[in-house]
């Protein structure tokens, strides 16, 4: 060790700088938690990791069928099934991460009372673990595209950027939800409700352009809109949804900064409240 580190502990807890330093020191724990999430989720099931394929496949087919073939919303002339399925892939990732991350801290309570580590790693590891499901979903998507004898637009090369955006938004929402859920248990009831409404209130199964511009404001203040529009732009092309994406990015920056402060603040007493 080159320089001996001095840690100062006061009633104020860690400064944001010290907190970020701890996160850096413990980054390997992030992988350990991610691995634990993935392994424990599929351990002991008869077909193991195959569930990671079956689960999204069935969800996509059923919801895609309901929204794309029965409800037949305005999808700007693209194949309604494909259109819905792309939106659903992003939405499913987001809602899974928020649900799991919300419980991640509460579930780790025995650990939290016995040892220190930056607690923020718990929700973040959930969003990274969820990435596996999302990637599998995307594989399925490509197969579905081929099955419909279509190819994604050339914008698909930009897709990794939107993937990063999705993971960031997932992580940040997870951070907020888990911190709020510790302080206010009410959030554990509120979250499933919000997610259920969100499936309809966000442009998952329909295009933003098909909505009367009068109501756009409701969609644009929704941080997930940019991700959904971005995903679809990659697969179908069309006009680059600059407004939705910029607003999502602004949300991400604001929520990230606020979330770090809030989580660090609530981390001080997490072991006492849990």
């Amino acid at each position: 060790m080159s320089r001996t580190r001095i840690t100062v502990i006061t009633p104020k807890g860690l400064s944001l700088r010290a907190y970020l330093r701890d996160i850096r020191d413990y980054y390997q724990l992030l992988w350990a938690f991610t691995y634990r999430n993935l392994r424990s989720r599929y351990a002991q099931t008869a077909i193991g990791i195959a569930w990671a394929v079956i689960n999204p496949l069935l969800t996509l087919i059923i919801l895609g069928f309901v929204f794309g073939k029965i409800a037949k919303m305005d999808t700007l002339g693209y194949d309604p099934f494909l259109f819905t399925v792309v939106g659903l892939s992003a939405w499913t990732y987001f809602s899974t991460v928020v649900t799991w991350a919300g419980q991640s801290v509460v579930n780790a309570q025995s650990m939290i009372q016995k040892i220190y580590f930056p607690r923020i790693l718990l929700p973040v590891s959930v969003s990274i673990a969820g990435l596996l499901d999302l990637l599998i979903t995307l594989m399925i998507l490509l197969v579905v595209f081929l099955f419909h004898q279509q190819v994604p637009s050339s914008n698909i090369t930009y897709f990794p950027l939107f993937l990063i955006m999705a993971v960031l938004l997932g992580s940040i929402s997870g951070i907020w939800v888990s911190a709020l859920g510790i302080r206010y248990r009410d959030f554990h009831h509120l979250i499933p409700f919000i997610l259920r409404i969100g499936l309809y209130a966000s442009p998952v199964a329909y295009a933003l352009q098909s909505v009367d511009p009068e109501y756009w404001i409701f969609f644009l203040i929704n941080p997930i809109t940019g991700v959904l529009e971005g995903f679809r732009w990659c697969f179908f092309g069309g006009v680059f949804p600059i407004t939705a994406i910029s607003i999502s990015l602004i949300w991400i920056v604001l929520l990230l900064i606020g979330g770090l402060f809030y989580f660090n603040h609530s981390e001080k007493t997490m072991a006492d409240i849990i």
Binding site: T4, R5, I9, A32, R39, I115
Partner: protein
């Protein structure tokens, strides 16, 4: 900074709030001037100041609830203090229990890496210590088996072994040396001693005065959240033991004011571990013996039936051990008789307990001592997977689940 650890004016206050705390409604109410309710506050730790020199081993002792665990939690950043300041030089590792974060579905190999990372080791460190960890735990053959299939012994050996191979500047340890079977305990203690001799700074909480005296340079005695004394190991442990005995005899003093006919009186009650050492702390599933001494009025006792009632914190009797079930109560007993009630495996969940003694003779109640003994049970290997049920379920039992 001169010392490895410097603590000034440290205090931790907990609020015992009504259940509304932590709900949206509670917070909303706290904003309104009408609904605000007073919370009871109590100081788990107050006005604590001390320092630890580099390479020094400081023991921390004190009765249950004296603030030992709170102090360790503050030092290890698990929670923040209410007042004061701690300064620590170097890397700290805390060991409040073994096997933190172990996942039953993961293999031994995977759990070594997972648990090691949680304890703050890097992958490289774990890899370099891997063989040592495995051979110390004696689980070479089972590395690819999920730990839920481990015997309880193997499980704690592996868990302890990971923890024992930490390499921090400062190590904070809470009573974790008492895991595993006797051989393994001896081995862990030796390893701990060897590490300490290498000049590591250690803070060490234990109820075993013998271990404390052997390992520690200085000892701190905590009582009701304050430092009562800090000094040489022998001096402070003696001070502590004296007060423990004094407290014990207090409950048995003044028998003339107690209930009952007084045909015989309880003289003492002690809890013994499997080496017949007096103790006030046990692990769930350990061998435990309650030794009750009764004394007649200078002549033989005409009939005796001892009820040893183990009560939870909520004054609920969780176990009643009635001597009449095994010893004929109608016989004559020597004027000084020792009753022993032994559990091969103490069937109590982790938590604090106290014991009430009620003595009957052939006519009715002869004597009664309400606060005869306080003791604490720590998590132990009662069930094969090493877990215990929720703490509100006090009694453990030898049932067997199986899948047919």
């Amino acid at each position: 900074m001169k010392h490895a650890i410097e603590v000034e004016n440290l205090g931790k206050q907990y609020r015992i709030a009504e259940h509304k705390e932590g709900t949206l409604r509670g917070t909303l109410r706290n904003f309104s001037p009408i609904g605000r309710k007073k919370k009871k506050a109590f100081w788990a730790l107050q006005d604590v100041r001390f320092h630890v020199k580099e390479g020094e081993v400081l023991g921390i002792i004190g009765p249950n609830g004296s603030g030992k665990s709170t102090l360790l939690k503050l030092l290890s950043k698990i929670t923040v203090p209410t007042t004061g300041k701690i300064r620590i030089k170097g890397r700290v590792n805390t060991l409040l229990e073994v096997g933190t974060g172990f996942h039953p579905e993961l293999t031994g190999h995977e759990n070594i890496f997972l648990n090691g990372s949680i304890l703050g080791m890097t992958r490289q460190e774990i890899r370099s210590k891997y063989d040592e960890i495995v051979s110390f735990a004696e689980v070479e053959k089972f590395l690819d088996t999920p730990v839920k299939h481990y015997s309880s012994g193997m499980y704690v050996r592996l868990a302890f072994s990971v923890a024992a191979h930490l390499n921090p500047d400062i190590l904070i340890v809470d009573e974790v040396l008492s895991v595993g079977d006797a051989d393994f305990r001896k081995k862990s203690l030796l390893k701990m001693e060897r590490d300490i001799r290498q000049g590591r700074t250690v803070l060490f909480v234990s109820h075993q005065m013998e271990t404390i005296e052997r390992l520690c340079d200085r000892v701190m005695l905590l009582r009701e959240g304050k430092i009562q004394h800090i000094g040489g190991a022998a001096e402070v442990t003696e001070l502590y033991l004296e007060s423990v005995y004094r407290q014990q005899t207090d409950a048995f003093s003044e028998p003339e004011f107690r209930k009952g006919s007084g045909q015989y009186r309880f003289r003492s009650l002690v809890l013994l571990d499997k080496n017949d050492q007096v103790t006030s702390i046990m692990n769930a599933g350990d061998q435990a013996t309650f030794r009750v001494t009764i004394e007649g009025r200078g002549k033989d006792i005409d009939g005796a039936n001892v009820h040893l009632l183990i009560k939870s914190n909520a004054e609920q009797v969780v176990l009643a051990c009635v001597s009449r079930m095994q010893i004929d109560p109608h016989q004559q007993f020597n004027t000084n008789t020792v009753f022993e009630c032994r559990f091969d495996r103490l069937p109590l969940n982790a938590g604090p307990y106290h014991v009430e003694l009620v003595g009957y003779d052939n006519h009715g109640v002869a004597d009664q001592v309400t606060g005869a003994l306080d003791f604490k049970v720590q998590p132990g290997l009662y069930y094969s997977l090493g877990n215990l049920p929720m703490h509100t379920f006090h009694v453990l039992s030898d049932y067997r689940w199986k899948i047919r």
